[in-house]
Amino acid sequence: MIAGGVRVLNVGLPAVVQGVPAQDVVQLDWRPPAFGDVAAARLGVVLDDDVTRAANRRALAAVHAVRPQLVAVRPARDVVPGLGEGRTLLHAGPPLEVERMCGPVRGALIGAVLLEGWAGTPTDALALIEAGGVTLDACHHHGAVGPMAGVLAPSMPVLVVQDGARRAYASLNEGLGRVLRFGAFDAEVVDRLRWMRDVLGPVLDGALRAGGSVDVTSLVAQSLTMGDEGHNRCTAATLLLARRLAPCVAEQDRGVEVLRFLAENDHFALNLSMAAAKLSMDAAVGVEHSTLVTAMARNGVEFGLRVAGTGERWFTAPVDAADGLFFPGYGIADANPDLGDSAITETLGIGGFAMAAAPAITLFVGGTPDDALDTTRSMARITLGPHPAFRLPALNFAGAPSGIDVLKVLDTGVLPVINTGIAHREAGVGQIGAGIVEAPAGVFLQAVRALHEVRVR
């Protein structure tokens, strides 16, 4: 009577299927869905239909079709929409009132004001910001992404990645130590930013003009086979990029300074993978009824989530400090709650999602290569499909798990893993460690409600 015979998925008590031959039973390790929020779980089931699945196929295909090219390095004011007008600074994460901003973002804003020359001292800079003398907005609202504090000022050079008519932008990575993105703003920091503005940006731009654009997808793909995961470890990608640019950089005036800078900065390619991920994910923004996550970002106070089917709306929840490993002399008590737009890499399927590629940093996720494989496999449970270009050798060259699905997050209760740096909670100190965070459950619960509202409207 049962076509195919009685073969059971058992959801609950094993005793209930005591009479069924063991080989015909799959026992689920079931847990309450949607983090125990039954109403949200029900909405998730309602949305899990052909309409959503078709929308998600469209959205993921659009993301995977993007082939970002690094075409130029230009002052932000010349290329980033809306940044050349008046006194505007951008920051990481969802938008936030200045009164609620955390120490590192405040510190970075101070540094940016000093760089722009809108104030002469940190005290005056802070006063200007708090008085509303500077327009503040989220990087994501301007086609840009910024790591950690993510502060982007008009005179800073940005990486310009392009695919057809579409573009995305990211600042240039300053290296480790006392840097603006971790909230440091002393003379050393601002001097370096000036050098990046006056030397690094123009030299790189000249090298790109001379040598042609760089295909970022193949760069990231290659780096994943060389031990990078594309977020916390970008050593291979940086080497590949530096090697590619080196001949043309060397021919530029002051090119050797730039090569020396690249040689000392293992993270330089991070910002490039971020800009490329932003360009890719933006291809899915607004795909009707899609439950694909298009952005995850933090501002040090709140975690923000964007979903394809709800366009540019942010779902936000308080964010925790990362669980991580600390530089000598620092600990969790010193850590600021997580921040940065860099989770755009995980949104695409690299970073924490590609831990299987990066044996050197498995300590962040447990300690062994097996733990790293488990992390990537676990992320595959909440994503829509493998990335066709980003292959992971350790998983038999399976594609990196790509395209977080709100419905799968709710169904499994598995939260996205994000690799991240850790900033000191006080403005001016800088980076104190690195680790991982999980996206908060609350944003996914909000998202499923909003997606359902869109559907029934």
């Binding site: 009479g19 490993l325 799968k408």
Partner: protein, 488 residues
């Protein structure tokens, strides 16, 4: 080594040893967890890292390693603590981790993951807390799986909605609160090892279906399919949606020659539709509707489980002989108390007693009011046993009726606690100068894991009078007390 009032600070340089910064941070954090250590650092000796050590007061005087030297620094309570930590740190750096063994196999957690693990799965059995059951049931139905929903506490609105979804997809949704099914010979939930045979059963009653199927087995015939539909299926709200689908499936099931529907009496208009549906089934059918009068229309109706089983057995040419039990002398107290683990067995007992005009107190100890915070008495017999033992102290009770349900899902040995309790009760009554007669039947087959004969012998050994059917036990009660009083 530098020792100050702030404790001791010391460094060790391991020349030309490279380790990744993540490895080093992990090592440092493990050193910091050692007793007496206040700070620890492990870094490559680059100028940048030395600056970090300098800034955090962790650079001992004179420390000047090369950039490719590995540096351990520890601040702690005293020199011994610090030296031990440095030794441990160095040992940690040169240690080799043993292979941890095979890769962990992920256990599927959701319906979707279960489907991926076994694409050939055809049926989901759901026994999650009732709050979540509608979510899981809907996922399973949408995935094309038949469902047996063991969970209770599902609203009628959800049941109606989900059964409509199931019917649209021609899938069985057995339940919610469905405890019993046998599909193509595979028992699910509380079910007995019943011989396969020509009788198809559709049941809105779990123990009712078990009793009918066990009696058919005893008659020498057997069951083709036993489809549980949940206790509310024939209610006015649900309207027999799943009974209809089950009958559709049985009407075209080659192994089914005769169909029995087992239920409490449905709402009038639902009963009418059911009988019309059975009349047009194309196969002989019996409506076993508990408490209804026995009638022999186009579709015969039987008001007891035994009556339904008897007729179905006759229709397939395997008449059921329920042997007579010689009743003992009637006790002085004429009160009858029934303590049941099977709800439908309790209901059948009430029917037999009511038909004979005997008033009695018959409790279904599996009802929600008795099972709050504890397992069903078919799984955990202890609560019923306590009540049985206590009945011996009641001067108004002369006859005690009990059931014993065997089969898959039931307790491993439900007979022993019942027999002990019955013995205790009889002895207590006797000590009080009274006779207490304990009447029982065992719902089970010779194939059940607990052993039918062993269970019967265990009860008989305690002086319990064991009957071949629940109705037969109730009839003995009638014979003993007809016209007697009611225990309060």
């Amino acid at each position: 080594m530098t020792t100050t009032s702030a404790g001791a600070l010391a460094a060790r340089v391991l020349p030309r040893l490279y380790r990744d910064s993540v490895t080093l941070m992990a090592l440092a954090s493990s050193l910091e967890r050692r007793a007496g250590v206040t700070r620890a650092g492990a870094v490559m000796g680059t100028p940048g890292n030395l600056t970090v050590l300098e800034r955090s007061g962790m650079r001992p005087v004179g420390l000047a390693p090369a950039p490719d030297d590995l540096v351990l620094v520890v601040r702690g309570l005293d020199e011994d603590v610090v030296a031990a930590a440095l030794d441990a740190g160095e040992a940690g750096l040169v240690a080799v981790e043993p292979e941890r063994g095979g890769r962990r196999r992920p256990v599927p957690q959701t319906v979707g993951e279960g489907r991926a693990a076994d694409p050939g799965a055809t049926l989901a059995v759901v026994s999650t807390p009732g709050t979540y059951a509608p979510v899981v049931v809907e996922q399973a139905l949408r995935a094309g799986l038949h469902v047996l929903c063991f969970s209770d506490n599902v609203t009628t609105a959800d049941e109606v909605r989900l059964k409509a979804l199931a019917v649209r997809r021609r899938l069985l949704l057995m339940g919610p609160d469905c405890g019993t099914a046998i599909l193509d010979g595979v028992p699910l939930g509380f079910a007995n090892a019943v011989r396969r045979g020509p009788v198809g059963i559709v049941a809105a009653s779990g123990t009712g279906a078990q009793e009918v199927s066990c009696l058919l087995h005893r008659a020498g015939t057997g069951v083709s399919q036993l489809v549980g539909v949940g206790g509310r299926d024939l209610s006015a709200e649900v309207g027999g949606t799943m009974t209809d689908l089950a009958l559709d499936l049985l009407s075209t099931d080659d192994t089914t020659a005769v169909v029995v529907v087992v239920s409490k009496p449905p709402a009038a208009q639902v009963a009418q539709r059911l009988l019309a549906r059975l009349a047009g089934l194309g196969k002989p059918a019996v409506a076993c509707l508990l408490g209804q009068d026995d009638t022999d229309g186009a579709v015969p109706v039987r008001g007891t489980l035994e009556g339904g089983a008897r007729l179905a057995a006759t229709l397939v040419g395997a008449p059921l002989h329920v042997g007579a039990v010689v009743p003992p002398p009637a006790p002085a107290a004429r009160g009858v108390l029934g303590l049941y683990t099977g709800g439908t067995l309790a209901a059948e007992t009430r029917v037999v007693l009511a038909r004979a005009g005997v008033d009695a107190q018959v409790l279904d100890l599996g009802a929600d009011e008795y099972t709050v915070g504890r397992p069903h008495p078919m799984i955990d017999p202890s609560a019923r046993a306590e009540r049985v033992a206590a009945a011996g102290g009641r001067a108004d009770v002369g006859v005690l009726l009990v059931d014993l349900v065997l089969g898959f899902g039931a307790a491993a040995d439900p007979a022993t606690p019942l027999a002990r309790a019955a013995g205790t009760a009889v002895a207590a009554a006797r000590a009080d100068g009274r006779d207490l007669v304990v009447l029982a039947s065992v719902c089970g087959t010779d194939g059940d894991p607990q052993g039918l004969d062993a269970a019967r012998r265990t009860l008989e050994g305690a002086g319990v009078l064991v009957h071949p059917s629940n109705a037969a036990a109730a009839r003995t009660a009638v014979a003993l007390v007809a016209g007697g009083g009611v225990p309060a």
